[in-house]
């Protein structure tokens, strides 16, 4: 297992894939001309089971489906907005739809969640994928917040059939699971228990949620913080029960707000059980921006940086009391 020194999610997973490919001849790696230093080892050590389809995401998905139909366990790799939106109909037809009658194992590894390609602009940033990939029945969607979770996801992907989408941050994020492993069956982790609002965050925003909680604690407000890394198969009963113990819920995602992301997921989860709670949806205001700046600056500009979120949560809680 990867150590506790922070590293990029993709490097942690690629390391596991390299070891997996050495042990299991059924594992195939397909890329749409997207690389990483660890990938060079996969390419040189397993030339028959590494294929670069070129800048052709539609074919990336189709070739991956064909390999999976032949019994291979396939990892397909590209930049997040391209592996989801450039080839959405291929994902729908040849993965989600076809896998309902032909069991297959394909994992899409999308690098570049949210703003993580900071200077590359809105084509390379990704705010729609959570909604889109969750819309397809059967797709398992994971959004880890550190490289340890990303590394653990390898076993889950190999061990369970069906199409999967891993939403990876392109940057190296602080380690959350240095001493304990994420509970993949549960799909979320209570990082901090609290008595007030429950902050449910995914990906990069888990780290923002922890910062916001610290600031609020200085004033005696004690929110809980949850890392929701499985966005499709989490333990619904356990999460609903956890949320029911709080008077308010705040969702945090580096994705458009109010467009069917984690905010909608939580609202749906609670309303189905009749345990509705006031929910503040923290996400990117739905608009495309071309302005440059570091990630923290961009986040504050669209209302998801720690300063903005802290102010929004305080105002939200004031309205409720």
């Amino acid at each position: 297992m990867s150590g506790t020194k922070p590293m990029a999610m993709r490097d942690a997973l690629l390391e596991r894939i390299w070891r997996g490919m050495a042990a299991d001849e059924r594992i195939f790696f397909v890329t749409a001309d997207f690389g990483a230093p660890t990938l060079d080892r996969i390419r040189s050590d397993f030339p028959k089971r590494f294929v670069n389809v070129g800048i052709a995401e539609q074919n990336l998905i189709n070739v991956s489906a064909g390999l999976a139909l032949e019994g291979f366990t396939v990892f397909a790799y590209a930049i997040a907005p391209f592996i989801t939106m450039r080839c959405y109909e291929q994902c729908r037809t040849n993965l989600a739809l076809l896998s309902t009658v032909r069991p297959m194992n394909v994992t899409l590894v999308g690098v570049g969640a949210g703003y993580s390609y900071v200077v590359s602009g809105p084509t390379h940033q990704c705010y729609e994928d959570i909604t889109l990939m969750r819309a397809m029945p059967g797709f398992q969607v994971f959004s880890p917040a550190d490289h340890v979770t990303a590394s653990h996801l390898f076993d889950r992907c190999v061990g369970r059939k069906g199409p999967k989408y891993l939403r990876f941050d392109a940057q190296t994020l602080p380690v959350l699971y240095g001493e304990r492993a994420p509970d993949l069956e549960r799909g979320f982790t209570v990082l901090k228990d609290g008595t007030d609002a429950c902050l449910v965050a995914t990906g990069y925003m888990v780290h923002t949620a922890l910062k916001v909680a610290e600031r609020l604690e200085e004033d005696g407000i004690r929110p809980a913080v949850l890392d929701l890394f499985d966005l499709s198969g989490f333990d619904q009963e356990a999460l609903a029960a956890k949320l029911a113990g709080h008077r308010a819920v705040v969702s945090l995602e580096e994705a458009f707000s109010g467009r069917g992301g984690v905010d909608a997921l939580l609202r749906d989860l609670l309303s189905r059980r009749g345990t509705e709670r006031p929910i503040l949806g923290v996400g990117v205001e739905p608009a495309y921006h071309f302005e440059l700046g570091d990630r923290a600056t961009l986040h504050e500009r669209v209302g998801i940086g720690p300063v903005s979120v802290e102010a929004r949560v305080r105002a939200f809680l004031r309205r409720l009391s």
Partner: protein, 275 residues
């Protein structure tokens, strides 16, 4: 049961499949008739000419050759073929498009004998590329065949797949184009011309032949020749066909894809035989 024997009477089989396709249409006028009449000889050559290894009792047989029917709508003629070969009881042909049937207006892979989802055009060739690569890595001798329409090749994903097959030297892969030269709204060449398709495919590194797609023996011979050539190049057969073949008024009509001939016309044809 492995079915690999050559049936000498391919023409008679093609005539029978043509009649049975019209009969399916009479009972289920929702199906696309015109584009299901142009590829009959292609499928008869493949399934009755000993070109494909398959086992109707075990459609997922590992040793089978993979046949991807990418032009989903325009393959209703496969229903009588698959029933005749024993993939499902012939009685199923009586209830195409009816509630509870698995034989829909567009074939889906819930039908024994259909490998993939082809209701949406332009998917078969890319998936076949992955299968062909997978078979090569597994060391299998199986072949992969893909049947598309010509209009379907407007979908750009096909050209990603065409480049991929040449780059990866997938000489176990065969593309058969039912080149009936008509899309939904008119002639393919007036909508978005494919030029001289065989030359275009050859320029992409494919070994390409052309044939009269209604001469079943010529189709069979061309496919045998391609199947037996493994020189690193993927292979293509452009089969020149006629959309709506054998049905007056429908044949080669630019809007034939959405035309539904009257039942009286079809019944008269069934009495008199294929013109």
């Amino acid at each position: 049961m492995e079915n690999s024997g050559v049936n000498a009477d391919l023409r008679a089989i093609a005539d029978r499949v043509w009649r049975q396709t019209l009969e399916v249409y009479l009972r289920a006028p929702e199906v696309r008739l015109a584009s299901s009449l142009s590829p009959i000889e292609i499928f008869v050559a493949l399934y009755y000419g000993g070109l494909l290894r398959f086992d109707p009792q075990n459609p997922a047989w590992e040793e089978r050759d993979r046949c991807i029917i990418s032009k989903g709508h325009g393959s209703i003629c496969m229903y009588p073929i698959l029933a005749d070969l024993g993939y499902f009881p012939a009685a199923e042909l009586e209830r195409v498009c009816k509630a509870g049937s698995f034989l829909g207006g567009i074939p889906d892979p819930v039908i024994p004998g259909y490998e993939t989802v082809n209701g949406s055009l332009g998917h078969g060739l890319g998936v076949a590329g992955g299968m062909a690569l997978g078979l090569k890595v597994k060391g299998g001798a199986q072949d992969v065949f893909v049947v598309t329409g010509d209009g379907e090749l407007h979908e750009g994903a096909n050209w990603e797949a065409i480049m991929f097959a040449a780059q990866n030297r997938l000489d176990n892969m065969h593309l058969i184009v039912d080149d009936n030269q008509i899309c939904m709204l008119g002639f393919t060449n007036e909508i978005n011309s494919l030029g001289v398709l065989s030359q275009r495919l050859a320029s992409f590194g494919w070994n390409c032949l052309e044939v009269d797609g209604h001469d079943v023996m010529a189709v069979h011979q061309a496919l045998w020749s391609l199947k037996n050539t493994r020189d690193g190049r993927p292979k293509a057969l452009v089969a020149r066909t006629v959309k709506g073949r054998g049905v007056p008024g429908l044949e080669n009509a630019p809007m034939s894809h959405v035309m539904s001939p009257k039942a009286e016309i079809i019944e008269a044809l069934l009495r008199e035989g294929r013109p």
